[in-house]
Amino acid sequence: MKDNTRERRRPGRRPPAVLIILGCLGLAVFVIPLAGLLARTPWSDLPRLLAGDVVTDALRLSLLTSVVATVIAALIGVPLAWLMARVEFPGRALIRGLVTLPLVLPPVVGGAALLFALGRRGLIGEPLGEATGLLLPFSTWGVVLANTFVAMPFLVITVEGALRNLDQRYEGAAATLGAGRWTVLRRVTLPMIAPSLVAGLVLTWARALGEFGATITFAGNLQGRTQTLPLAVFVALESDRDTAVALSLVMVAVSLAVLVVHRERWWKAL
């Protein structure tokens, strides 16, 4: 009661106690599991565990596939976002829904859908395999595809939002001054949405790095070829908890480093 009256007298001096308590509870949801992980970490064994080939193979594969997936998302996701933001076409609302679907679908469902479409007996996978010999499941490209499917919506949504909020008069002015459409896009539009673009890329990469369900369903699990960090953690949990914890710690460290660095610079764009 006393606190309440004091706050009423000096508003803005201190945030309301209720918000502090609830906010700290919110923070606890994120911090407590992390604390559990740190408490279980076999610190003295860590260097030996991290030097194991399972860990190094998984880390290398995770970094490779998540970066390639992010590049692919940039190449095809940004144009898609531009079309969705700037072109009126029938069924645009449906397309917007489709693009966000991977955000809400269980990734395992996404992986199964990829398998039905692009697997060896899949709708497209079978003719593709017969024509080119290309086999996506159980291959590193399969991991990249699963990552792209699950992570690209983050980029498309972010970029589309930025484009829709962009004041088109700048682009109009550049065009009036004689810039071609390509120049406008390159010199005006892209620089203006750059913060959102980078934020979207970072989110996409982070989601791809953590991808599990679609990957294990579509690409399987083989060390050095398709076993990314999350898969290695999952399999190791069954038998070798220390390695699983060490792998988890690597994931936390890599993700946290990138997200913290970028958050300061780009987060406002979201």
């Binding site: 499941p137 159980f138 699990n221 399999v235």
Partner: protein, 262 residues
């Protein structure tokens, strides 16, 4: 033992109750004359691979003992073992391997010695029609084929690798699936040309996956032991349930799901 007679007795009772208009459930079928009529709940902790077989055993046992309500507690043998050792209530424990049962027996938690009631063998699992034309274990070393096993960390992965080692085959593996369900799904979809699973797993797909027998001399057999627990809340029913699983009727049910008798 005679399920038919009990059902015959129960029918008029239920019919009478229905006429009276105040049905309160078939409680009146208790105390139906047999001196050893069993009653109450019976909690059976059984390995997950027994799920289908024990569901049928449950029905058959309840038909023979209408006073008993069997509840199945399914899980991995190791987690069930932990539950028993940590004092969770239960009447019967059926494990998918001897090591978990041995730990329970050594802790003095079993009433009497555990008995092997079923065996499970490994089999090569193939997509229906065997499109890759696989004829034996040697084909799992063929690099042109897509081969999956359970991950080394899962029991089916341990047994699968043991079989290949016995046969002197070095498999060229394309995927280590996290569990037997995931492996079967990919074999059934034809995405993998072959895998190694239990016979019972192949049968559980109802024809979606074909099984190819592995020669006896290299195959691995998992023994399934069962025991009543020493702290069983319902010890009489627990003992009768164990006997029922070991009986001809119980064994016939298990055989129907691909288990062989000890």
């Amino acid at each position: 033992m005679s399920g038919h007679r009990l059902i015959v007795l129960a029918v008029p009772v239920v019919a009478l109750a229905a006429c009276a208009g105040t049905v309160e459930g078939p409680t009146s079928s208790e105390g139906d004359g047999t001196a050893t009529a069993l009653q109450g709940d019976l909690l059976v902790s059984a390995a997950a691979s027994l799920a289908d077989a024990f569901a049928e055993i449950e029905s058959a046992f309840e038909a023979a003992n209408p006073g008993v309500d069997v509840h199945l507690n399914l899980g991995s043998s190791s987690s069930l073992r932990q539950q028993v050792l940590e004092g969770a209530p239960g009447d019967v424990f059926a494990s998918a391997n001897t090591s978990n049962m041995d730990q329970v027996a050594e802790a003095g938690e079993t009433a009497g010695d555990p008995e092997i009631f079923a065996r499970n063998r490994m089999q090569i699992a193939l997509p229906a029609g065997n499109p890759a034309g696989i004829t034996g274990l040697e084909d799992l070393g063929n690099e042109d084929l897509l081969i999956g096993l359970c991950a080394e960390e899962a029991p089916c992965g341990v047994f699968g690798r043991a079989v290949l080692e016995n046969a002197g085959v070095i498999p060229l593996i394309d995927s280590n699936e996290p569990d037997v369900r995931a492996l079967l799904t990919k074999v059934e979809a034809g995405e993998l040309d072959a895998g190694i699973t239990y016979v019972t797993d192949v049968l559980s797909t109802g024809g979606g996956v074909e099984g190819l027998d592995i020669p006896e001399d290299v195959n691995v057999v998992a023994d399934y032991p069962i025991a009543a627990l020493v702290n069983a809340p319902n010890p009489d029913a627990a003992a009768v349930f164990v006997d029922f699983v070991l009986s001809e009727q119980g064994q016939a049910i298990l055989n129907g799901y691909g288990f062989s008798s000890p």
